[in-house]
């Protein structure tokens, strides 16, 4: 009988007596007899912790992906996470606290989030960052909600260069919000925006969404998007990669109204996709439409600097159906983790990571394109962060073959865009496209081993 309950037999008896009840069942008198669960839950009986650890350990060992050298990215990256970051972010005070409803005893989390907001805002080149959203996709959905609310128009132009899963989420939630999602195709890896002529037709977009770099690693022309947005009084939303931002111009500096991103690269493990971290930044003009929590600085009764969640009137618990968003629990621990990781990296470290990723990508690209059976998906468009290769055999086959060589070769585009194709790549690339990511952790030796295996894997 393994559990964490402190009640002794005597405790239970004494408490029931105090309540004047005969047994525990009487506590549930309000539950209609007919509904009560007879015979208990259909679940195995409890097991002691060591048995459970054995089981979970066996499941973990069954994930052979964990042993592969990772060249997969597509929004989830294998970056260095040093012991010091794990140790600090793992402190139980951060892990087992609730949302800071009593700021006097929550300055630890509040200040860490305030520092996180500052770092993320600097990264995006915007003045405001919130305390986190669920992940990149949910941050984008919220950005579109904000953007359309700000412009008052429901149509949304979304570059097909935005991560396919994020676009899928936009379509899902549009069924509730009523947004009209218009996907703009790519040509050679960059968005082919409609000329003024085309778009004059019909209601202009309330928001325009572009990714920087986009999910194929290509660098879009943000200034052009800004001009388009100005011309149409639309909100400019940029989904920016936060690591590449270490060497790329900030979207804010080019005039983005909202910048969102996936914060996983900042200290969070691959984790089979979650929990991750939704980054969200906006201009001061939009702060009252900000989704989620915001930590602000203030003072206490003695004038000491202190932190508190602020502009609460936007939130669901106060504004209810009029709230800017329904988000309550967010990803605070990942935000704290990001603050620690960015504190560890610092000004030079982040730049160095971004640079090393770009160098690795460059090295692998040059060498891979030398292999016959390999060609680029995005022509000669400059890429950072990701690399889309066209492989002679279906990309999925390449991935499968390379697992036996000890490599997670990348992500087959077919797994991202689905069989029915997508506006980001042509039908052939949708089947033969392999998306590869190289982080600062990949060594030259690993890449050379990868190239040998790739050479074999692409043979018919």
């Amino acid at each position: 009988m393994a559990d964490y309950l402190p009640h002794t037999e005597e405790d239970v008896a004494a408490m029931l007596a105090f309540l004047g009840l005969a047994d525990l069942d009487e506590l549930f008198a309000a539950v209609p007899q007919a509904l009560r669960l007879a015979g208990g839950l259909e679940l195995a009986p409890g097991e002691p912790e060591p048995d459970v650890l054995d089981h979970m350990g066996a499941l973990a060992r069954a994930n052979r992906a964990g042993d592969l050298v990772c060249f997969a990215g597509a929004g989830a990256y294998d970056h260095e996470i040093p012991p010091v970051v794990r140790a600090l972010a793992g402190r139980s005070e951060f892990v087992t606290a609730y949302t800071p409803y009593q700021p006097e005893v929550a300055q630890g989390v509040l200040q860490a989030v305030f520092e996180y907001q500052t770092m993320v805002a600097r990264l995006a080149g915007l003045p405001v960052a919130n305390a986190s959203l669920y992940d990149g996709a949910s941050a984008l959905v919220e950005a579109v909600n904000l953007g359309t609310a700000a412009s008052g128009r429901q149509a949304v132009w979304v570059s097909a260069g935005v991560h396919p899963h994020w676009r899928r989420c936009l379509r899902t939630f549009a069924r509730g919000s009523g947004h009209e999602i218009v996907e703009i195709p790519l040509a050679d890896g960059v968005t082919a925006w409609p000329g003024d002529a085309d778009s004059a037709a019909g209601d202009g977009p309330g928001a325009i969404v572009v990714a920087y770099p986009n999910y194929l690693g290509c660098l879009e022309d943000l200034a052009a998007v800004r001009r388009m947005a100005d011309a149409r009084a639309a909100t400019m939303v940029v989904a920016a990669d936060p690591v590449a931002a270490g060497i790329l111009q900030s979207a804010g500096s080019v005039g983005a109204d909202v910048v969102v991103g996936e914060g996983q690269p900042f200290g969070t493990a691959l984790s089979f996709g979650g929990p991750y971290l939704g980054l969200f930044c906006c201009t001061m003009a939009q702060v009252r439409r900000l989704p989620g929590r915001l930590v602000g600085e203030t003072v206490d009764v003695e004038g000491r600097r202190a932190y508190v969640t602020t502009l609460r009137a936007r939130e669901q618990d106060i504004r209810r159906e009029k709230a800017t968003s329904n988000v309550c629990t967010n990803q605070t621990l990942m935000a704290v983790t990001a603050a620690v990781q960015l504190g560890w990296l610092g000004t030079r470290g982040l730049e160095e990571v971004a640079l090393r990723c770009a160098r690795g990508t460059r090295y692998l690209r040059d060498a891979a394109l030398g292999i016959d059976g390999i060609s680029p998906v995005t022509g000669n468009t400059p890429v950072v962060r990701e690399l889309a290769l066209r492989t002679a055999v279906p990309a999925r086959t390449v991935v499968d073959r390379m697992t036996s060589e000890g490599f997670l070769a990348g992500v087959a585009l077919s797994d991202l865009v689905g069989g029915d194709g997508d506006r980001s790549v042509d039908a052939d690339a949708a089947e033969h496209g392999l998306l590869v990511a190289v982080t600062e952790r990949r060594t030259l030796a690993e890449m050379n081993g990868y190239l040998v295996a790739l050479d074999k894997a692409v043979r018919p």
Partner: protein, 541 residues
């Protein structure tokens, strides 16, 4: 010594050169401010160390085209690893948590978070897996998710589960989109969703985002849904109703069968907000009550830690007729029979688990598969407890709440004084009327008494609400101490100077009460922000 900023300035450090080794912000030594990491920063200092790779060291201008380059590196803090550690360790000492003491925060189920779950979540075989790895390479994860789905179905009495929603609110919106998809396929345009006035704020917010209008039904004198009021708003324009049972007053909706019947009669669906499931584990199942859609807060009922505000996990379980609409792809067992453990022996043989997308799926609601590591923690918790243990959890949670209710009924208002479930809603209305001591004051005084405060001013239907959820992992001794603290506070309020004392609380914490109005009026959302006048006070309640 002084704990005023003067005291802090007394350190004589220029704002941008705070000493990383000075520990006056650690409550162990003092009550000073902790410098921000930016104030601890010194140009040229660093912590980062990256692997030696041997990759050619191209310059940035050889890699990034003109016009795309960042002119200057992103200005972050530059600190030594030693100062990084000292800074965040001191911050952690300025933070209350379950691991320090009782956290009777109503509606949050702040139970003890077993350490074994941290170990599981840190297993390289779980934490190191890329979400896009081929199914054959992550059989363990797929087996884990299928096992968890089966367990959650057993607990809720539903047929299938999606794990994509990252928290309760995301589960709610997902559930409402499922509701919409269901009605759409039956060509029914329904515009309204009914929720009780006691509902949590995320419910109405989610309804709006789901494209529905909120219709609120009042609670009756018993604190439950007013049946007549409900019937009066039910018609074929109602897509469904959102309920949490027990409700946010901690009361079991006794008329649940009639409610279900009434809603189903007009073709509506019942949505179960699972935030309060802890009270009924193994006692009664949402599915048996007639609910069609259920979201669970694994970060409440199943003890996954809250992380200071998140992450959570809000899986949604549905009845058979809604299964085809679930988000996809979903983890599925390919050949039956093989249990997770079996599959875990792994490698040998082809894959036993894979992915599948339901026929009429509403699509993705998450970048990947949901908060996977949180799900692994929940399965661990479920396995340790088993069916029998989960039932004990509910019994002890309800027992604890009722013990507090009866004990405190003499000192505090108990708006609905009958057997409650996992939490009890007290009120400070009398204290306020007689002595000018409000729920907020009671909350702050409790901090001085060594306990986290309960949830205050929620649910909105109760004046001066003090929503207390002790959870099952607190002992009778802790409940007694908590009750005595509540009683001391009430007694003190009646003494002269008592109210002032309550208003002055908390006095033992690193900071006292904050100027929340100023935080909203002069918004400082980042260390770089210059004071910004945002006009009126927007702190809300």
């Amino acid at each position: 010594m002084s704990t005023s900023p003067a005291g802090a300035e007394a350190s004589g450090q220029a704002a941008t050169h705070a000493p990383g080794g000075r520990a006056l912000s650690a409550p162990l030594l003092g009550r000073h401010e902790e410098p921000t990491i930016f104030e601890l920063s010194e140009p040229g200092r660093s912590s980062w160390q990256l692997r030696t790779t041997g990759v050619p060291e191209w310059r940035v201008d050889e890699l990034v085209p003109e016009g795309h380059r960042r002119p200057e590196p992103v200005p972050l803090a530059e600190v030594s690893e030693r100062d990084l550690v000292a800074h965040f360790t001191r911050l952690s000492h300025r933070q209350f948590s379950v691991d320090l003491g009782a956290y009777p925060l109503g509606s949050c189920t702040m139970k003890y978070n077993p350490k074994i779950c941290d170990t599981v979540a840190a297993l390289p075989g779980l934490a190191g897996v890329h979400p896009a790895a081929p199914a054959e390479m992550c059989q363990g994860w797929l087996a884990l998710l299928v096992e968890l789905e089966e367990a959650l179905c057993a607990v809720t009495g539903m047929a299938a589960v999606t794990f994509q929603p990252a928290a309760g609110a995301a589960g709610e919106l997902t559930g409402l989109l499922l509701m919409r998809a269901y009605h759409d396929t039956r060509d029914e345009q329904r515009r309204r969703v009914v929720i009780p006035d006691s509902a949590h704020g995320t419910n109405p917010a989610s309804v709006s985002l789901g494209g529905y209008e909120v219709t609120t039904v009042p609670s009756d004198s018993r604190g439950c849904v007013d049946m007549d009021a409900l019937r009066s708003v039910l018609d074929h324009d109602v897509a469904g109703i959102m309920l949490t049972n027990p409700n946010t007053l901690g009361l079991f909706e006794e008329d649940i069968e009639e409610i279900a019947e009434a809603v189903h009669d007009v073709g509506g669906l019942l949505y179960y907000d699972g935030a309060n499931l802890n009270a009924i584990l193994g006692v009664v199942r949402p599915g048996d009550m007639g609910f069609d859609i259920v979201h669970l807060n694994l970060h409440k009922t199943f003890a996954t830690p809250h992380g200071g505000g998140g992450p959570g996990a809000g899986p949604v379980a549905v009845s058979r007729r809604l299964a085809d609409f679930l988000p996809g792809p979903r983890p599925v067992r390919l050949v039956n029979g093989a249990q997770g453990a079996a599959a875990a022996n792994g490698s040998g043989g082809g894959a036993r688990y894979g992915w599948a997308t339901p026929a009429h799926s509403i699509g993705r609601v998450h970048s990947w598969h949901g908060n996977a590591l949180v799900l692994a923690r929940a399965l661990t918790y479920i396995r340790v407890h088993g069916g029998d243990g989960l039932r004990r959890v509910a019994e002890r949670a309800v027992l604890n709440a009722n013990w507090l209710r009866v004990r405190l009924a003499a000192t505090y208002d108990v708006p609905f004084d009958r057997t409650c479930m996992h939490e009890v809603v007290l009120a400070a209305s009398t204290l306020k009327r007689r002595h000018g001591v409000r729920a907020l004051d009671v909350a702050k005084r409790l901090l001085e008494e060594g306990f986290h405060a309960p949830t205050v001013y929620f649910p909105l239907v109760v004046d001066e609400a003090l929503m207390v959820e002790p959870t099952e992992t607190e002992s009778l001794q802790t409940l007694e101490a908590l009750a005595e603290a509540f009683e001391r506070i009430a007694a003190e309020a009646a003494t002269d100077g008592g109210a002032d004392s309550a208003h002055a609380a908390p006095r033992t914490t690193p900071v006292g009460r904050l100027d929340e109005a100023r935080a909203a009026r002069v918004l400082v959302p980042t260390f770089d922000a210059r004071p910004v006048e945002t006009g009126h006070d927007a702190t809300g309640a």
